[in-house]
Amino acid sequence: MTDTVSPDMANRDTGDGTASQGTAGNDVRARVRAAMTGPDVVAVTARVDGRQIEGQVPARRLLVHWLRDSGRRGPKVGCDSGNCGACTVQLDGRIVKSCMVLAVQADGADIRTAADLTEEDGGLNPLQQSFKDFHALQCGYCTSGMLMTAADFLASGEPVEEQPVRRALKGNICRCTGYENIVRAVMAAGGAAVVQPHGRGARIDADGTVADTRSDVDTEGSH
């Protein structure tokens, strides 16, 4: 399915310098139009989550901003410096931090964001379901990037064990979960035997203690 978005639409108040919807006056509008046709504006076409996107993009615009401006909420900006991984997307089959890629570099590329992980019927895919089952997200801001990295790891053929999972996720920062449940969710999605989270069907003993239902999980130190 091709969804061709006109340059006007694609760049509507998207940070190109357009003021087309604003009230700042015709002079600004004219100047912006002039800037848009200058040498720094490049035509970019990419396939994003299976849909063709076209736009006139300032050469300096980051891929993450272009994707977000075109309505994709998966990639997030968390650090501006390539550390946090919240902007992780798949670009021609490889995962990239889309704040480290210029939109013009993605011309002709096939891009997949977290929104595309969902099953065709709109349900959660097994990895997403595993994140839900294991409470692997809290605020959800890092989640799209985590899912993209985790999906890439699971497709890599690396052994689905704790250390390889932790290594694979080290480019993605989460400030809420402490990673423990993310690691479990990824391992479970990869087929490893991981006991369901604490309290899922747990009992509260007469003395008030809660049985740790994960007592049979390997709890050796990681390194």
Binding site: G22, T23, G140, G208, D212, G221
Partner: protein
């Protein structure tokens, strides 16, 4: 796990207490959440702040004429204009400290920290705003810089706020019991010259995003973006702008973390509001990572001086005393509340009888402090834990026995502390025993002995902490007797829609704590439906009549206040449903039950009406109801929860300052490389006790998250400053937030000591109390031993550990007896 979609007709289970999967997750997993920069706004312009490159300087000129050359430049806001259009932000401290002049842009012709906003520039796009900001030319005359609290209070120090008259922002003294007598007569006295709790923050992954729309026709400012304490924000912005509170509308949607710090968002929000009004155009400011680290809010950095602890031969700790300098950076903002907040946990986890604290709030040329997870209590808890740990080592007490001896015992609750706080419940000995099992304590002691002398030494640490929750805002009067605050309430609203569906909104504003789920669990139980059938409003909205003055998510309170308010609101709705049901079913009201989405006659379940019939009648056929029922019923339950807290005695600084005290006991095993100073966590375990659980899975998630915040602070995260006042951790390269690869498996256990003071026995627990800082420091000390370097700083990167291995700090610790 399919509980949320199970057959409603058989929903007789209690949802409260179960690990129900989160309602929030589906939209977030499908990238359908709506975070700050996701909200589409027509005609949006962007704001960029021009910030000071200097830590302390006088502004000599500002030239914005270059901005006109930038395509898409909308306009700007200058400091003088901000000073004309706003009042100084309300200060919580009394005179003379309240003379601080804090505005949304640099005030009084000065900048006081590197990164302080000086000019706010608006552009039609992100790029236009940035380009225009780059065209602003500001000239400065540099002033002497203060980056050390001790230097700031020394004679002749340069002064940040001339109107305050010095760099002290507040001062208060506590003298509980008789520490002088205890120190004079105790069998042992340990003295430490100085300990330092370092500067770091929670650094939520989503930086602040503030969108402001100004409706000129209605004279209403609407703010959209993460706001952790909405009515406090309205109070601060309303007073600054001289604008009616009801014409300030604050909306939060999905919200990428706050952990306290976003309570300070009213400062930049005021500048965004002024621009939105000036240019009649919606404005959005998207904070960068570096901006967040400069001014997004640091945790209180605290230097403890002349610390003395009195201990008996049998291991009983009598008490301690210290002076401290609390470095709040350049502006007080929510401070000096930290000056009293620490005293919620005056006793820490121990039966001490004597405590003397001399607390001074100090300005320096650093980023301002905001409340951060564990706010102000973790600093005090840390120093008590360090002193306990140092005392055990120096006097040769077994580290486990020493703690067990001094812990408040399970049969002593409710326990009144030296300053009148009432610890509600707990079982610290059981928690400690459990956590030691989780790290295989005996095995690890054997490993430690085995490794001795190999250059890769092992240390085992214990950290005991409290997470005090549900503030008594009356404690603010201990800071300033003229503040009007007292007690605490939260609001909630639960209503039935025209088709019988249920909607709820709470005054608490969640940013990852799963409030939609826990709210739905509790409401579902009361209405006899499933959590999936309760539509809980996302985030917060000040226009929805669900907020009180203290609404919000901070201070570990939602499980008490937020849930309490929703319970009270649901009770009202249940009563209305039954009133209508009684009329329609011709049955006595007290013979009705709510089950599976029906109101039923308990004695005859065949006589039942679905909620849709109740709602449909109230909405569309009120004339079919008896007049007195139609007059009374609106199917909206709105209620508050009031925490039962009395005003403290301000003069004596005595009274109960928080309603609940969740406990956490952590233990860890570290390995230290003698050559590199690198600390590796071999094992880490936590046992929490937050009373009756609503959703154990969510509780465990909060414990894990708080644990990694603390581990990060203990080993990696530091907002250090150069002598010139430049922040050394301005991005995630220089400020290392832990990754999955930095951490061991976290081992979790729990103990349940229901609170006798709360609606369902639950306690607030999200902050965690900084246990990892206590635990990691204790483990490093344990690896070093008693006659060695002394761990006197909460931050221990390899370079400091190497110094410790070489004996650093030993000279600052003395056993006087």
């Amino acid at each position: 796990m399919t509980q949320t979609t199970s057959d409603t007709s058989t929903a007789t289970t209690s949802w409260t207490g179960q690990s129900v999967p989160r309602i929030e997750d589906d939209r977030l997993l499908k990238a359908n959440g709506e975070f700050g920069d996701d909200t589409p706004i027509h005609g949006l312009a962007y704001v960029h702040f021009v910030r000071s490159p200097y830590a302390h300087a006088r502004i000599t000129s500002i030239d914005v004429t270059g901005c006109d050359e930038i395509p898409g430049y909308v306009g700007c806001l200058l400091p003088d204009e901000a000073a004309t259009l706003t009042n100084p932000f309300v200060e919580l401290q009394p005179e003379p400290w309240s003379n601080e002049d804090d505005r949304c842009l640099a005030s009084g012709g000065k900048v006081r920290y590197a990164g302080e906003p000086v000019v706010a520039v608006a552009g039609a796009s992100r790029e236009a705003a940035r380009d225009a900001a780059a065209a602003v030319v500001i000239e400065y005359e540099q002033l002497d810089v203060l980056v050390d609290a001790k230097a700031a209070v020394a004679d002749g120090a340069p002064v940040l706020h001339e109107a305050v008259g010095g760099n002290v922002g507040w001062h208060g003294a506590w003298d509980c019991g008789d520490i002088g007598f205890a120190l004079e007569h105790a069998d042992h006295v340990i003295e430490v010259d100085e300990l330092h709790f370092h500067r770091f923050s929670a650094t939520p992954l989503e930086n602040s995003v503030i969108t402001c729309e100004y409706d000129a026709g209605m004279d209403v400012f609407k703010f959209i973006g993460g706001c952790a304490m909405p009515q406090f924000t309205i109070f601060m912005i309303g007073a600054a702008l001289g604008h009616s509170a009801e014409r300030i509308h604050v909306v939060s949607k999905d919200f990428g973390g706050s952990f306290g710090v976003k309570i300070g968002m009213y400062v930049p929000a005021t500048a965004v509001a002024l621009l939105a009004r000036k240019y009649r155009r919606p404005m959005r400011w998207v904070e960068t990572r570096t901006e967040h680290h400069w001014m997004g809010g640091h945790a209180n950095e605290r230097t403890f001086l002349d610390v003395r602890m009195a201990i008996q031969n049998d291991g009983t700790v009598l008490g301690l005393e210290y002076r401290c300098l609390d470095d709040i950076g350049a502006y007080s903002r929510y401070e000096p509340l930290g000056g009293v907040i620490w005293s919620q946990v005056a006793n820490a986890c121990y039966q001490i009888k004597h405590l003397k604290v001399d607390y001074t709030t100090v300005y320096t040329n650093k980023g301002p402090v905001h409340p951060v997870r564990g706010y102000s209590r973790m600093q005090h808890l840390w120093v008590v834990e360090r002193m306990m740990d140092i005392a055990a080592h120096k006097l040769g007490f077994d580290p486990v026995e020493f703690r067990l001896t001094n812990y408040i015992q399970p049969d002593q609750y409710p326990y009144t502390t030296v300053n009148g706080c009432v610890y509600d419940s707990g079982d610290l000995p059981q928690s400690l025993n459990k956590v030691l099992d989780l790290i295989d304590y005996d095995k690890m002691r054997a490993l430690q002995a085995e490794r001795r002398g190999t250059g890769r030494r092992i240390g085992i640490g214990i950290g005991s902490t409290l997470d005090s929750g549900t503030n008594n805002f009356g404690q603010a009067r201990i800071i300033n007797a003229y503040l009007p605050f007292a007690g605490n309430t939260e609001g909630g609203l639960v209503r039935m829609g025209q088709d019988g569906s249920i909607y709820a909104v709470t005054g608490g504003v969640a940013f990852g704590q799963g409030h939609e789920t826990t709210s739905a669990q509790v409401i579902a139980d009361m209405l006899g439906i499933t959590p999936g059938e309760v539509f809980v409003h996302r985030g917060g909205d000040s226009s929805l009549s669900a907020q009180t003055g203290f609404s919000g998510s901070y201070a570990s309170q939602f499980a008490v206040t937020g849930i309490g308010a929703l319970i009270n609101a649901t009770k009202k709705l249940v009563d209305e449903i039954k009133t209508v049901g009684a009329a329609m079913l011709q049955a006595p009201k007290d013979d009705l039950v709510l089950e599976g989405g029906f109101v039923k006659v308990a004695s005859d379940h065949e006589r039942a009406l679905p909620f849709a019939a109740i709602a449909g009648t109230v909405f569309f056929a009120p004339g079919a109801l008896p007049d007195d029922v139609a007059d009374e019923v609106n199917l909206v339950g709105r209620a508050v929860y009031r925490a039962p807290l009395a005003l403290p005695d301000v003069d004596k600084k005595y009274g109960n300052l928080t309603l609940t005290y969740a406990t956490q006991v952590h233990a860890c095993v570290v390995e230290i490389d003698d050559e590199t100073g690198e600390t590796t966590l071999l094992a880490y375990a936590m046992v929490d006790d937050c009373g009756t659980p609503i959703n154990p899975m969510i509780i465990e998630g909060q414990v894990q998250g708080a644990t990694v915040h603390g581990i990060g602070a203990a080993l990696f995260e530091n907002f250090g400053y150069s002598p010139e006042g430049q922040l050394l951790g301005g991005n995630f390269y220089d400020y290392h937030a832990p990754t999955a690869y930095d951490l061991p498996t976290l081992r979790y256990g729990s103990v349940v000591s229901p609170s006798p003071f709360t609606p369902i026995g639950a306690k607030g627990m999200g902050e965690g109390g900084g246990a990892p800082q206590h635990t990691v420091c204790a483990a490093i000390q344990d690896a070093l031993g008693a006659d060695a370097g002394m761990v006197l700083d909460s931050h221990n990167p390899p370079e400091r550990v190497l110094d410790l291995v070489n004996g650093q700090g030993a000279e600052r610790v003395r056993v006087l007896r």
